[in-house]
Symmetry: C2
Subunit: 135 residues, 2 copies
C-alpha cells in the first residue's frame, strides 16, 4: 500500500498541524477545543499514562475533563507522520516538566478534517535526548 | 467516517486473528514469522516499552531480533478493534509474568492481508483487573 501524500486535504502538514493543535489545547486546558479535536463519527479510545484503557467518546472526553482540570506544561517534539489513506499516525515525543514520554496519536479524516481517534503515551527512559520544538 | 465492517477481507475477525498471531509469534520468539507480520510496502515504526522510538522496517525488525533472543511469556487479553477502512487499530492488554501492559497495535491491509505498521505498549498500574484470554 503506497502512502497517499498530498491528495486533497490529506497532506502530512495538515496532520502535523492538528497534532500541534492538540498539544496547544492540552497545555491550555481547553476542554471545548479538546472536544472538537476528537472524532465524533468514528470510534475513539485513549490510553493515558498510568490509566486503564478508556473506550468511547463520552468516556474519553470525561477523562480529558478530569485531566484538563490541572493541565500539565506539555510540549511535543520530533513528530513523524505515517499516512495510510484517510488514517494518519503521528509518533512524537512529549516533555512534561522533567518527564519525557513517547506518544502515538491516531487521526482519521471526518468531512475533510483530521480528528483524533486514539492516543497512547508512554514514559521514556531518562537517557533519550530528543530535539525539542515548541509544537 | 463510518466504520467499514465486513467489506471483503477486512472484517474485525481477520484483524483479531492477526493480532493473536502476533502474540503467538512474540511468545514463540519466531523471527521469520515476525518479519512476515510487519508491513513491507508501508512505513513502519515501533515504541517498545522503555525504548526510544524505532522507525523503518529494517530498524524495527532489528529490534525484534534482539527482543526475540529471549522471548517473554507474553499473553494478550481484552482486544478491541477500531477499523477505519484499510487501517485497523487493536487496543488490548498484555501480561508478561506479573507485569501488565496496555498496547496499541496498528495494522494496514497489504494485498488483502493485515500487516503491522506500528505498535506501542505501556506498563499498566498494578490495580487493573483485566479478563485474560490465551491470545
Amino acid at each position: 500500500m503506497p502512502l497517499a501524500w498530498g491528495s486533497g486535504m490529506s497532506t502530512p502538514q495538515d496532520v502535523l498541524g492538528t497534532n500541534a493543535a492538540f498539544y496547544a489545547v492540552f497545555a491550555d486546558g481547553d476542554v471545548t477545543m479538546m472536544e472538537r479535536l476528537w472524532a465524533s463519527a468514528s470510534e475513539v479510545s485513549c490510553l493515558h499514562p498510568g490509566w486503564p484503557p478508556v473506550f468511547g467518546r463520552d468516556q474519553v472526553l470525561d477523562s480529558w475533563r478530569l485531566i484538563l482540570e490541572q493541565p500539565p506544561p506539555i510540549v511535543a517534539g520530533d513528530p513523524r507522520v505515517m499516512q495510510f489513506g484517510d488514517t494518519a499516525v503521528v509518533v512524537c515525543q512529549e516533555r512534561v516538566g522533567g518527564m519525557m514520554l513517547a506518544a502515538t496519536n491516531i487521526f482519521v479524516r471526518e468531512d475533510g478534517v483530521w480528528k483524533l481517534v486514539h492516543r497512547q503515551a508512554t514514559r521514556l527512559p531518562e537517557l533519550v535526548p530528543p530535539r525539542w520544538a515548541m509544537h
